[in-house]
């Protein structure tokens, strides 16, 4: 699974802001931390605001804060704002497959896709914050 850059930025931003526990962070500060383009990040932040995960405060000293429910929001909820989570072309087990090769391959790929989805649906932002705390790294 290779996540698109926007998806990764969305995950970085929402986790960074959830970690701040209601505190406000500037887009520039987040872009600086992850060494990403502020223009690209701003587009991603707008999507997260529209989805109700963040609130934006405009003007001098403005920024973003996390307003979602970290115990109920999963990695899947965030990723799906930016891209579908499935193996393209094999979303459903009942899709007609012309050849025995396609049909056989579909069984294997659907299994992989379902495992991936179950994992992403089970990891909440709160659980991610615990993992981040236990693994350490640059804050």
């Amino acid at each position: 699974m290779k996540l698109q850059q926007s998806t990764l930025l969305g995950l970085y931003a929402v986790l960074e802001l959830a970690k701040a526990e209601g505190g406000q962070l500037s887009a520039a500060g987040i872009a600086d931390k992850f060494d990403v383009s502020i223009n690209h990040l701003a587009k991603v932040l707008r999507i997260l605001v529209r989805a109700g995960h963040l609130k934006a405060a405009r003007g001098a000293g403005g920024g973003y804060r996390y307003t979602g429910n970290a115990k109920r929001t999963t990695l899947m909820d965030i990723i799906e704002l930016f891209e579908p989570v499935s193996i393209e072309g094999f979303e459903g087990r009942d899709l007609p497959h012309g050849t025995d090769v396609e049909a056989g391959l579909a069984v294997a790929l659907v299994e992989i896709s379902e495992l991936m989805q179950a994992t992403l649906q089970s990891i909440t932002l709160r659980t991610m914050l615990k993992i981040m705390q236990s693994r350490g790294g640059k804050t």
């Binding site: 115990k71 179950a118 649906q121 089970s122 909440t124 659980t127 615990k130």
Partner: protein
Amino acid sequence: MIESEFTETPLDIRIRKAVVSDLPAITTFDERSDKDVNPGYWQEMFARYGDDHDKQLFLVCENGDEIVGFIIGEVRDWEFGSRPCGWVFALGVRPDVRLGGVATQLYAAICAFFKEAGVDKVRTMVARQNNDFHSFFRSQGMMAGPYIQLEKDL
């Protein structure tokens, strides 16, 4: 006292070993109870895990004088070649007190039992579609282990 997202009243909970008279309450909120569960299932579970055993444990959670949760597990030795470890194989919390910390306290209690029994790993298995249970065990720090469960129609 802990807060539940679903009740205004703070929970006053206590974890203890199950007794036979707890079983009727447990069957009212065990999610498997409305399916094809053998009527003698819980009696058998109690006989196997409810008494004093070195390697099996059946705990309940009381909120005041009501049973609001249960957990069952055991230490299994060298299963599939793995070192002895604790297995949690049944867990239930009454729906109206979920997200109040009941399962967390039951899980902590059974992990303490496993540790006391001399094992350093706890495992469980959850249905892929059971997102609530999957999320709960992950929130306790559990991750995918080195084994994959496989099955086949016979």
